[in-house]
């Protein structure tokens, strides 16, 4: 292991080396608990970077800092050339228009139909679109996730998997450059999890997005990740492709692998 905290085993293979996110020495504490301990990582253009780790290790805190939902205590987060910590609320709002965030719970607006849920960000992020163009984009996004029939349903009428797919549709409908997925397959059965993983790959190809996928699901990680980063106790310990990361004698990493069943 070298002096740097992260043992980068390999560079990403089939994607460009242009960085879209560059995080350096990020620290975040909640009271006396240090959740992020000098975290550094890069996301390259067009890649899916999977962040693997146990529940409660701080993975969600990391992506919330990226999009400015939480303020880091120190360190820098550079997203598409902008330092997130130094942006005012207007500029942060402009940056967020280029970043899609899929929440763990889906976070669909309960009081709105599926159509209204998808139109909501479009009205705010893509103000130049006419109502007809908005309706077409909504239909297209729902077709991409295979739920065109659900357009007039309320979120309470949807199953867990459907809610996750509609949330995904709401996130991609604004054509973001970067996607952040917070536990996209948590709470779903293996078949639906597989469908979500497939959708993530489809979105990467179709919308040419760069993504960070937070998960503890090794099957999802293997299916979607161009690179995998192991997140243990507030810091990255190994980064590389899936097989490289788990080809190790590190007990913590091996334990994580051994307790997951993967295809």
């Amino acid at each position: 292991m070298n002096d740097f905290q992260t043992e980068a085993i390999s560079q990403p293979k089939s994607v460009s080396l242009k960085q879209v996110i560059d995080i350096k020495n990020l620290r975040k504490c909640f009271g006396n608990q240090e959740v992020l301990k000098s975290v550094s990582i890069k996301l390259f253009n067009g890649e899916n970077l999977v962040v693997l780790g146990k529940s409660g290790s701080g993975k969600s805190v990391l992506i919330k800092c990226i999009v400015g939902l939480l303020n880091a205590d120190c360190g820098s987060i550079n997203v598409l050339g902008e330092n997130v910590n130094e942006l005012n609320s207007l500029d942060l709002g402009e940056l967020r228009k280029k970043v899609g965030f899929l929440f763990q719970s889906g976070a669909l607006y309960d009081s709105m139909t599926v159509r209204q849920n998808l139109e909501f960000p479009l009205h705010r992020v893509r103000k130049e679109l006419t109502q007809k163009e908005i309706e077409e984009k909504v239909k297209e996004a729902l077709e991409n996730v295979g739920l065109s029939d659900a357009i007039n349903k309320m979120p309470s009428q949807l199953s867990g998997g459907m809610r996750k797919r509609i949330s995904l549709a709401r996130t991609i409908v604004v054509d973001p450059l970067i996607m952040l997925y917070d536990e996209p397959t948590t709470g779903l059965d293996p078949v639906t999890s597989d469908e979500i993983s497939l959708l993530i790959n489809t979105i990467q190809k179709k919308y040419k997005t760069s993504s960070i996928i937070i998960t503890h699901d090794l099957t999802c990680a293997k299916e979607t990740g161009d690179r995998v980063a192991m997140f243990v106790e507030g810091k990255f310990t190994r980064i590389g492709d899936f097989n490289e990361v788990f080809d190790t004698t590190d007990e913590q990493v091996k334990a994580f692998y051994d307790y997951n069943f993967i295809k």
């Binding site: 999009v67 939902l69 402009e94 719970s105 309960d110 009081s111 960000p121 705010r124 992020v125």
Partner: protein
């Protein structure tokens, strides 16, 4: 000689004094923490109010959402306020009639009921009902949105959640609750007429004209002004409790109930202040 013999037990009096000091010290720490928490919460409330006022006067007012909230508050509370208003007037009339009859002042009944309803009972009781229905609804809705990350989802989609969720609700409550109070007053007078006709026979026109003979503008204005403050307080408390709900479903319930309790209490506090100010006029 071993270690045990060197450990001399302190005298009983010293032991008691030590325990007493520790108890005082623990109580002081607990009270300091409680005072600290109270001041922190108070500062949070002031910051929340400051942010709400700032966002109210910023650009891009969410007018559509504001209208939707006005409809929600007005339309959905109407049946409850209707029943409340009629019962208020009815009960006040039935209870007051015997006392007035003793002094031969039956003819004063419409005026007395109208003044009581318009000046005090109508605004306060209607506001307390609204604190329960509207305040708890806001607390529960925003609390549930907080717990399910919907507020964060709004932030990430470049929507200002304070402007969209809080400002619209506070303004809608400030506008609609005075209107609901006026509506409740009107129905209260109607209920009073029904009550008067249980043991009497008065036409509605006569009853109404007798009621309004004793009402001046000075009866309406302070009541209307304080009802605006009631609306603002109920909206602000409901939104504050919901927006700052903790994690987990339990916190949604806590947000809803504490919105009702605090909203009701503040309605009474505002009423006391308003009554004192009116007395000075």
């Amino acid at each position: 000689m071993n270690d045990h013999t060197l450990r001399i037990k302190p005298p009983p009096a010293l032991n008691k004094a030590k325990k007493f000091t520790i108890k005082i010290s623990d109580n002081t720490i607990a009270n300091t923490v409680a005072a600290n928490n109270f001041l922190t919460d108070f500062a949070d409330v002031l910051l929340f109010i400051n942010r709400t006022v700032k966002e109210t006067f910023s650009r891009n007012f969410e007018f559509r959402e504001f209208l939707r909230q006005c409809f929600q508050i007005g339309n959905k509370t109407l049946p409850l306020i209707s029943v409340t208003g009629i019962i208020m007037g009815l009960v006040l009339t039935i209870q007051s009639r015997p006392s007035l009859a003793k002094f031969g002042a039956d003819a004063m009944l419409p005026g007395m009921v109208a003044v009581s309803l318009i000046r005090e009972m109508g605004p306060v009781i209607t506001a307390l009902i609204c604190a329960g229905k509207i305040g708890s609804g806001m607390g529960a809705e925003l609390g549930s949105m907080k717990v399910t990350e919907q507020i964060e989802a709004m932030e990430v989609s470049s929507t200002n959640p304070m402007r969209f969720l809080v400002v619209t609700r506070v303004l809608a409550a400030t506008l609609m609750i005075p209107i609901l109070i006026l509506y409740s007053d009107a129905l209260g007078i109607l209920g009073s007429w029904v009550g008067a006709n249980i043991k009497g026979d008065v036409t509605f026109v006569l009853f109404f004209s007798q009621a309004f003979r004793h009402i001046d503008f000075i009866d309406f204005l302070p009541a209307f002004v304080k009802s605006v403050f009631f609306g603002a307080v109920i909206g602000m408390v409901g939104c504050y409790k919901g927006y700052n709900a903790g994690r987990g479903t339990e916190s949604v319930g806590i947000a809803a109930t504490s919105a009702v309790v605090l909203g009701s209490l503040l309605v009474l506090v505002v009423d006391v202040v308003a009554v004192q100010l009116t007395d000075l006029l």
